[in-house]
Amino acid sequence: MQDSFDKVSPIDKKGAGTPSVSQHEQQMAEDARIELSPPEVSDQPLPHRRFPEITILETENLQMNPARRHKPTVLPGFYGATRIVLQVRDPFWMHAYWEIAEDMAKNLRRQLGEELDRSQLTLRVHDVTGVTFDGHNSVRSFDKEVHPFANNWYINVEESDRSYCVDLGLVTGASQFYLISRSNTVHTPRIGPSWIVDEEWLTIREIEEGYISHGLSPSSPGISRHARAEELLHEIALGSGGVGAVGSPMGQPGEVHRAPRGFWLRADAELIIHGATEAGAKVEVCGMPMPVRPDGSFSVRLSLPFGDHPVDISATSDDGIMHRSVSWIVSRSNRGNGRS
């Protein structure tokens, strides 16, 4: 059993160089391999992959909202239903995810016996454009071998504007296909303008009467603008500074000292003026009215650039009669060159 897993390595053979086999998937496959201990494997002939277990493990140190008692805070890896779901990513890529439930796995083991170990997990991708798919009537199909531990895969298709359905199954050593689950059908979007130029026109009022046709020329001003899917929306890197830009908003030019190794020093100075007067008095510092606390104290921080700065502090009693003031000069200057 274990041997069969080791032998199959479709990622190496088929997936090299294609985006469908991502680093992430490989990592998930690796982790899954580590988690499956041999006795479990022998009980479960088909490889299971729990959905997001790795992601969950990474975040288990985060505290969930204080949910409660027995409710799980780790999401389930299985939902217990055999299922494959197909989604459109863009005109040329689809994504499928699947789950193979235990009863299905046992069933396959019963049906295939030893042959199961020689079987390859496969996505059979059917182009079902224009047909009602019955399992046999697709326009064309191709097989994508997937890693036995994978639970999702990106599928590259060459033609856009087509309908697809994917069968998840096993290809046996005798090249027989055993269906495990059939996906929903999706339609990929067209790349480029439609070749259909027959026009149909409608006014809201004409809804009751049905649609009307309109024989206007198909030449159009708009369609010459080529469809460009540009990401403008989240391109919000306005400016170039970046959070890491170093420097104080108050700093003078030359205040950031960088050494060749990237070691740096940033220094700046602020002045705290504090004092107290009678409760209820009005205080001004450098002409700015100051909030005075209930106990009569006040304080203010000022950025202190180089040079001489006059400081005038005045207090006026709340009845406006008494007045006191002090005046200083505060200065900042360089001593030596201070550089290295």
Binding site: P189, E200, S220, R225, A229, L238, E270, H309
Partner: protein, 535 residues
């Protein structure tokens, strides 16, 4: 307006944030997204747009507001917390005015912030009573703003194709909440991320919506080929109109390289005193987060492609906003003149933007918008502003076509929301959607009341897990842990509720806790999930 215009410009602002209310504590820095959006974008936009209305400047503009953002606007807890935040911000700005006393290069800017924050606080409480939804209502009542909405929690609809009941519920629940708040149904609908796939329009029709927006290639690649490209709407077979985004006007405003916001005179976004002042000065604004965050006080201009930024000069920035507005209007005039010359009807140029571009990312954005509206009103006769429903009144006859699946995300399809880092969420989302539909169909008349409440809460948890924001954040790579945690939390809550309902073993205490944590959509009708839907 002396003569009739040659064509029309539809400005559309999309206002959205995921539901980031955290009743369980004040240490969630993501709640700060909401405060910043209010103080930097929504209040300034309200001030600009209501002043234009007061001065009777003629204009029409469309604003889409997401039900999650609307819920937060109306939430008393967030209103109170925002009030505290704003008071701290005003105090910080006042201290900054004092601190920069001897720094003339920064002093004027500090005063500007103090005055703006004070004005914002005054407008927020004295004109809006603390409820930004009232501001939107005022603008709508003025006749200048057409309000529309989007999916309930901004779920990305193309990746719900396999569970169409959930896509339908996102749409109907969103419109239902909008109706509860504003009393009427919206005429238009913003598809989250402009994500469209054929069939989604059927649910819009069911909800009475007349139009939606789609990215350029969704229209250009429609079938049959639309005769006027993106410069006229098409009707889907559901009779709902699709308006395509104009790339030219988008690029001029959005693009970091070619767009206006990167101009050297505009305010630099990343240089914030939150990273640069000493810790004690900024601490009150950081809540209980022990890390440095932005405060909104930024003293530098973009300056150029350099780390050595020069001080911001408000006067220059405002003059530049006026210049850019003139350039924007001039370009739209030329565009419309050309289009009108080759079309047998008046073209509509649709220019949608994330609302937060204006004010939050691009500080001078609200002033730019102010100038654009005034210049269109008074300086030219070539174009006029209108809303999509105005255009449908003028041109009720439109071509019928099926738009192509598309989004406005990177590369134009679904790869942002369906990538290696986030595709693990879909097995959960689709399973939950299936289970919610199963529950709704099994319990059309739930007894007792506790069961009904559990079903409603299950619907809320599912909707919250579906927010396009979580997958987007995982892809964008910022605060990934938060997005994962939110997704896992709502998923775990849903699965727990499902088990409890099925086993008739609902824990009233736990349910109350969940209702308090995720209290949006108080009147949600979970039976919306019972409806039949196909895509």
């Amino acid at each position: 307006m002396l003569s009739t215009p040659n064509g029309y410009l539809a400005l559309v602002l999309h206002a959205h944030l995921p539901f980031v209310r955290h009743a369980d504590g004040e240490h969630y820095l993501e709640e700060k997204w909401f405060y910043e959006a209010l103080i930097e974008t929504y209040i300034p936009l309200y001030i600009v747009l209501s002043r234009l209305a007061d001065e009777e400047v003629p204009y029409r503009i469309t604003i889409s507001v997401s039900p999650t953002l609307l819920s937060m606007f109306r939430d008393p807890l967030l209103q109170q917390r925002f009030s505290d935040y704003m008071n701290n911000l005003v105090e910080l700005a006042e201290r900054e005015v004092a601190r920069t006393r001897w720094l003339p290069a920064f002093h004027d800017t500090a005063q500007m912030y103090r005055d703006r924050f004070r004005e914002a606080r005054d407008v927020y409480w004295n004109r809006l009573g603390g409820d930004m939804a009232k501001g939107l209502q005022d603008l709508s009542d003025s006749g200048h703003v057409e309000l529309i909405t989007t999916a309930a929690t901004h779920g990305y609809l193309p990746l719900m194709e396999v569970c169409p009941e959930a896509a339908r519920a996102q749409i109907l629940a969103g419109i239902d909440y909008y109706r509860q708040v504003f009393g009427i149904a919206p005429k238009g609908f913003w598809l989250p991320e402009c994500g469209y796939s054929p069939g989604i329009d059927e649910y819009l029709r069911e909800a009475g919506v007349r139009y939606f927006f789609i990215d350029s290639h969704g229209i250009l690649n429609a079938s049959p080929r639309p005769r006027y490209g993106v410069y006229a709407p098409v009707y889907c077979h559901s009779k709902v109109a699709a308006f395509g985004r104009d790339m030219e006007s988008s690029k001029q405003v959005w693009s970091a390289q070619e767009g206006y916001p990167g101009d050297y005179d505009y305010r630099e976004f990343y240089r914030d005193i939150g990273y640069e002042l000493d810790w004690e000065s900024i601490k009150p604004l950081m809540g209980n987060c022990p890390i440095r965050l932005q405060t909104g006080l930024k003293y530098y201009r973009v300056t150029g492609n350099t780390d050595r930024k020069e001080p911001y000069v408000r006067q220059w920035a405002i003059e530049k906003a006026a210049t850019h507005a003139g350039n924007f209007v001039f370009n739209r005039e030329r565009q419309v003149e050309y289009l009108a010359s080759v079309m047998d009807r008046k073209p509509i140029v649709v220019a949608p933007y994330d609302a937060e571009l204006f004010g939050h990312w691009w500080f001078e954005g609200p002033e730019f918008l102010d100038y654009v509206i005034r210049k269109i009103a008074y300086d030219q006769n070539t174009i006029a502003l209108l809303t999509p429903s105005d255009y449908l009144e003028l041109y009720p006859k439109n071509q019928v076509a099926t738009p192509s699946m598309s989004s406005w995300g990177y590369m134009g399809y679904s790869e942002v929301w369906l990538a290696d880092c986030n595709n693990w969420i879909y097995p959960h989302l689709h399973t939950m959607a299936g289970r919610m539909t199963e529950l709704a169909r099994s319990y059309p008349h739930p007894q007792p009341e506790l069961t009904r409440r559990a079903l409603a809460q299950a619907a809320r948890e599912l909707l919250l897990a579906q927010s396009s924001d979580w997958a987007f954040i995982m892809k964008a790579g910022t605060c990934i842990d938060y997005a994962k945690k939110r997704f896992e939390t709502h998923t775990a809550h849903f699965l727990g509720l499902y088990d409890d309902i099925k086993s008739s073993n609902i824990d009233p205490e736990w349910l109350s806790e969940l209702e308090e944590q995720s209290n949006l959509f108080p009147n949600i009708d979970y039976m919306v999930y019972a409806g039949r839907a196909t895509m």
